[in-house]
């Protein structure tokens, strides 16, 4: 059980957050709605307890279910990640945009979209040293018309979302290798797209096909070393296009 919890209403959705930090609850208070009794969606642990027994103290972290979205000693960064995640829920795709369940990593003004779990396994310090900014979140808004990623602004911050060219995208790793045909790439992406309805399905499908034609996705590598290597390659290739 978390000492503090809150349910917030964002774009018609109820999202519950558990935390060990009262300040975060105060920050989210203006979006508070009555508790709907759902299980906790996100957990923000900023003050992890000493485990004792000579074990190392865990880093502060943001969790979605049992999956860690970000663990970092930088509490402000972890809090910002929560606020960005909430912003992604607050801004559903519309106007020909699509929201895909991948997170942006940015270098030199180009964005790669990658599975959160793939980047979650790579040490934060290594990414910073490479000049890669990982924007930890659960989904990204993409404009298929311009092939740009519209970076979500954290929930209580006033700023226009930056639009960064999409340099590439990785899909969750699979247990088979080989090149994805364009059709299979579209089929692999579609389950990652949010808010697909009977009314917009044809448009969303065409949008994803357009994106696949512009920038062919690949499966994410499954080992940390391979992720590091492939990130560098993907950014270099995108920059040279």
């Amino acid at each position: 059980m978390w000492p503090y919890s809150i349910t917030v209403g964002l774009a018609g959705k109820a999202i519950s957050i558990g935390t060990d930090d009262a300040e975060v609850i105060a920050r989210l208070d203006k979006w508070r709605i009555p508790d709907v009794g759902d299980p906790i969606d996100y957990c923000l642990e900023l003050h992890p307890e000493e485990p004792g027994g000579g074990n190392p103290r865990p880093f502060p972290g943001l969790y979605h279910g049992s999956a860690a979205l970000l663990r970092s000693r930088d509490k402000a960064r972890v809090t910002t990640a929560l606020l960005r995640v909430l912003a992604s829920h607050a801004r559903p795709a519309g106007d020909g945009l699509v929201r895909v369940g991948l997170m942006p990593v940015v270098r030199d003004g180009l964005a790669l979209l990658v599975p959160p779990a793939t980047i979650g396994a790579v040490p934060d310090r290594w990414l910073v040293a490479q000049g890669i900014e990982a924007l930890h979140t659960v989904s990204s808004l993409v404009d298929p018309g311009t092939a740009r990623v519209l970076l979500d602004v954290p929930l209580d911050m006033e700023a226009e979302p930056a639009a960064v060219p999409l340099g590439g995208w990785w899909l969750p790793p699979q247990y088979w290798e080989g090149e994805l045909s364009p059709g299979f790439a579209v089929a692999q992406v579609m389950p990652l797209v949010s808010d697909v309805t009977q009314a917009n399905a044809a448009l969303v499908l065409r949008s994803i096909a357009t994106l696949v034609e512009q920038t062919h996705p690949a499966f994410a590598p499954s080992s940390v070393d391979a992720v590091k290597e492939e990130l560098a390659i993907a950014f270099n290739e995108a920059a040279s296009r």
Binding site: G183, F184, P191, A201, V212
Partner: protein, 88 residues
Amino acid sequence: MFGPAAGVAWVSIRDEVVVYRVADAASLVLNPTAGLLWQCLDSTSALTDILDDLADAFGADRTQVEKDCIPVLSAWMAEKLVEEVHHG
């Protein structure tokens, strides 16, 4: 006459067709031949006309085309990807 069922969207990309069923977010990728049959299911054309056209297009035996296509169409109907359309 047959056409995509309600809640089914599709897109043609290169020589493939991707069929997407909203209810369970399921996708099916059709190869060029199956994709051609799919694109003929326009809720307007009679199945016999479609089979005639496919036999002409491929220079194939009409009976064989029917033998090949009907099981595919039946499978799509069983998967609720395609529905029979009745015009007034």
